[in-house]
């Protein structure tokens, strides 16, 4: 059976081949792409995502959220508003939470990017914040969850033992439209506790 998720991933893989082919095509001398202006950024770049170096061909105006989703197949990062107004696209850049919809991919070339896909250990053990979200049923539809979880992981690096109020303020840059915030906070507080113990 084709799930929605595997369908999306298939479509992205197809797209990746096309863009790789057109990249080769350009390099073969056909005057398709324009050469960058002198001193301007090159389209081809290497991104460090979840500890892996990924080579991608990215237009200058593309945001990190779209590169992650559409070129690297990392669809765990969600796009809600594309305006820095909802938080669902939150990822860590050098361990600090950012809205990936409002960051140019080209500006994070030499930085460490962490997405929800990179949280679990290679053996599949969930990150304490992920585990707490499940244990406490922190989310309902879950669309906002990757953003909340990344925001929490980032915040806990600066304040591992927050009060409930401090945590509420720390993850205030994320919106949820269907669960109740109190429940999310309870889950994320218990996440802080898990993280301290592990």
């Amino acid at each position: 059976m084709v799930s929605r998720r595997s369908f999306i991933k298939g479509a992205i893989a197809g797209g990746a081949t096309v863009s790789a082919a057109s990249y080769l095509f350009r390099n073969s001398g056909a005057a398709l792409g324009q050469a960058p202006a002198p001193g301007a950024a090159e389209r081809l770049l290497a991104l460090n995502v979840n500890g892996q170096l990924r080579h991608v061909d990215v237009p200058k105006e593309e945001t990190l959220a779209l590169t992650l989703r559409n070129r690297l197949g990392l669809t765990g990062t969600k796009v809600g508003c594309q305006r820095a107004e909802c938080g669902s696209c939150t990822v860590l850049i050098d361990a600090v939470p950012h809205y990936s919809c409002s960051v140019l991919t080209h500006s994070v070339r030499s930085r460490q990017i962490a997405t929800i896909e990179g949280l679990a250990s290679p053996t599949g053990a969930l990150h304490p914040v992920q585990q707490a979200a499940i244990d406490q049923q922190g989310f309902q539809c879950g669309f906002c969850a990757p953003g909340f979880i990344m925001a929490t992981v980032g915040f806990l690096k600066t304040n591992p033992s927050p009060t409930r109020d401090e945590l509420a303020e720390g993850i205030a840059g994320n919106l949820c439209r269907c669960q109740d915030y109190d429940k999310i906070l309870t889950a994320m507080m218990s996440a802080a506790e898990h993280a301290r113990r592990s």
């Binding site: 202006a37 950024a41 820095a84 939470p97 500006s107 993850i171 840059g173």
Partner: protein
């Protein structure tokens, strides 16, 4: 009028690693280039086609624009220093708390992690007629759509209306004016240092921009002198939601007291005019007076002299008066 929305237009991207290289780039491209700090004002404007630059000059790779340095009891803050860094900096917190609180009141945690001080003070207005691409005065047209009988203008100006009724929405701008900060501006012609109070422009001087920055100018640093270090500070911001929302009115206060008497004071209100409004008249009236209810009442009334509310923002008059009263009363 903008028709395409919600997608980024294409542009050339430059990522210089020194101020000199950045100046050469913006000098070469002139008005076709736009400076990119954290991008949180710019990306919205690009997506709505309010600005259509051919090139962006990203300052993110320039180390000399980053960080906070102590200079003679004061601070020099690189234009690319993030608001989060300013809000949590120990000296900003202990000596210039009004700036720490203002920076900490911007947007949301993620916005403060990325938004820069240089970008925050140089940001454009959020008047949604202008930001939706209407050809108003600010966009080079010949009307103000926010000042018609049916306009929705709850967030707009109550002071110094001059054709355009948009406001400056920055939270850090009034704090910097209150601290007598100085803005260091460089271009290929050299460096000039401008008082924060004179950095911002009203529509009477130039209706198409909010600051003195011209094409080819780069704000490199903001200097906070020792003048107000350790003074009594207050910052209040009234907004609809605690996160994300711009100020409806904000106020920054710096005060020096002795024996219950106000020796010197700065009172600056923003989001009520096209530029942060320093309340000179109020400052002069309360200097030398006790910090009590009578002084507060006097200050509040003086603060709203000359207000010209629009149809939907009369509340800003009372809000400004009350915030000024509270700043004096404590």
């Amino acid at each position: 009028m903008a028709v395409i929305r919600g997608s980024m237009p294409s542009f050339e991207l430059f990522q210089p690693t020194s101020v000199d290289a950045a100046l050469a780039l913006i000098g070469r491209h002139g008005a076709a280039a736009r400076i990119l700090g954290g991008g949180l004002d710019t990306f919205d404007a690009l997506q709505d086609r309010v600005v259509q630059p051919a090139a962006l000059v990203d300052l993110g790779g320039i180390a000399e624009l980053q960080g906070i340095r102590e200079v003679g009891g004061g601070l020099e803050i690189g234009a690319m220093t993030t608001l989060a860094e300013i809000a949590r900096h120990p000296i900003v917190q202990s000596q210039f708390a009004v700036l720490a609180r203002a920076a900490g009141a911007v947007g949301s945690p993620q916005i403060r992690n990325q938004g820069t001080l240089g970008g925050n003070v140089s940001q454009s207005t959020r008047c949604w007629y202008y930001r939706s691409g209407w050809t108003c005065y600010r966009a080079g047209g010949n009307s103000c759509f926010a000042d018609t009988p049916t306009a929705v203008n709850r967030e707009h100006a109550i002071f110094d209306l001059d054709r355009c009724v948009a406001v400056n929405p920055s939270d850090t701008a009034p704090a910097l004016v209150a601290l007598d900060a100085q803005m260091v501006v460089r271009s290929s012609r050299g460096e000039r240092v401008v008082a924060a109070e004179d950095y911002f422009l009203g529509p009477d001087i130039d209706i198409t921009r909010m600051t003195i920055l011209d094409a080819g100018d780069l704000l490199t640093a903001i200097r906070v002198p020792a003048t107000w270090a350790g003074a009594h500070f207050q910052f209040e911001k009234v907004r609809d939601r605690k996160v994300w929302d711009f100020p409806l009115v904000n106020i920054a206060t710096a005060m020096k007291m002795s024996n219950g008497i106000i020796r010197d004071i700065r009172l600056v209100v923003n989001a009520v005019a096209a530029r942060p409004r320093r309340l000179h008249e109020v400052e002069n009236a309360v200097r030398g007076k006790p910090r009590d209810a009578a002084t507060a009442t006097l200050a509040g009334e003086l603060a709203i002299k000359g207000a010209q509310p629009l149809r939907h923002n009369t509340y800003k008059v009372a809000l400004t008066r009350n915030l000024v009263q509270r700043a004096i009363r404590g």
